[in-house]
Amino acid sequence: MLRIFEFLYKLRAFLLFVLLEIIAIWMVVRNNSPQGAAFFNSSMAISGSLLKTQSDITGFFSLSEENDELSAQNARLLKELIGQNSMDSVSYAPLDSSFKASFEIIGGKIVGQTLRLAQNHITINRGADDGVTEGMGIFTQNGAVGRVKEVSKNFSVGISLLNTGLLVSSKIKSSDVFGSINWDGKDTQVAKMLYVPRHVTPSPGDTVITSGYNAVFPEGILIGTIKSVNPSENQNYLDISVQLSADFSKLNYVYLVRNTSIEERDSLYQQAEISDEY
């Protein structure tokens, strides 16, 4: 018995090494599974506030650019508003309640982000106190950015669109063909559109938007434009590259959106035993 203990004592460094590696790998696996929660991430109080200080300093230099984008967006919204008012006087048909999907939108600022890995994440300075919940969509006026994964009191961490694990339900605007946007981990400007059948003939330059089939994003949020269409190795689908419209290296202010009917939809899916893609 004593010999066994002596033997184990001699091996203690190796055993500790194995133990620590197992802990680390287990944390990686948990972090990458859709239901898993990371133990240490940038939404924690210390790391969150440190990252916020950094972004406060660096954000200062891109203020004029942000202002330009905001005023452009204001102009566009104003135009839409005027259009709505004039529509009122001509004809007005109340929408059926089945078309109604109400969305809550919260503004936020990106305080931390990774770009160079295969599984990229973003940290936002809004948390549970501001009404952020898991599963909210993240977008900017330029396009979809990701989905909230975890929420702490004052910060939240989202899975970036530049994450090989995230699928976003999308469609080609001109032909209404559905597919899934997934990043292949290579170029931070280009993603793949999966599951578009071969009989469709999309052409480069076509706009790709969110489909609204998933309950994360409302319909019609820009994702990008088709860059190239090739026949893929898979006999059934096309290999489509999409040029992303959001510039991930320059993200600063974002919007978080929640579909308030998501619970109803989720429970319906659960009853029907359908697993939803995001």
């Binding site: 620590l20 590696e21 940038s42 990252l51 770009l115 940290t123 981990g185």
Partner: protein, 174 residues
Amino acid sequence: MNIRNLFSTIIWGMLLLVIQIFFLKNLALFGVALCFIYLLLILHLPVNISTISLLVISFLVGLTVDMFYDTGGIHAVGTTFIGFFRPIWLRIISPTGGYDEGTSPTLQEMGTGWYLTYIVPMTFLFSLLFFTVDQWGTMGVFNILNKSFFSSILTVLLAILVQALFYKRRRSIL
């Protein structure tokens, strides 16, 4: 290690972590070469440190970086391996006559040739492990090797640059 050395090691380590987290996080030369300068914190600990404390320090350093990178534990997997492999590799490449008590394996103390044989395999192994875990199943072997190769080169270059600029020459006192 006396108390003064301990303090300077801690401050140096904090500085490396700050640089890594705030400046090098999204830096990638030509889209393939990442820089892991914080590995110097582990690689430059004194030669005679016990394996147990080396492993614990490596694991904690990896976790700290993971927290800011949102990578779960990918850095920790790599740093723990480095912590385990370091004493073995040091024994293999030990110079004739062994190491002096309390030496750190740095460029100034050990000379360029020895230092390169020490740091190049270590950073390459770390990068290899890091990218393998990061891109698990999503990309080919060539991509992983490519990224590891250029990342370790960039890390070694920066490590040499940092030491040439900021490390005091202890040998010159003699």
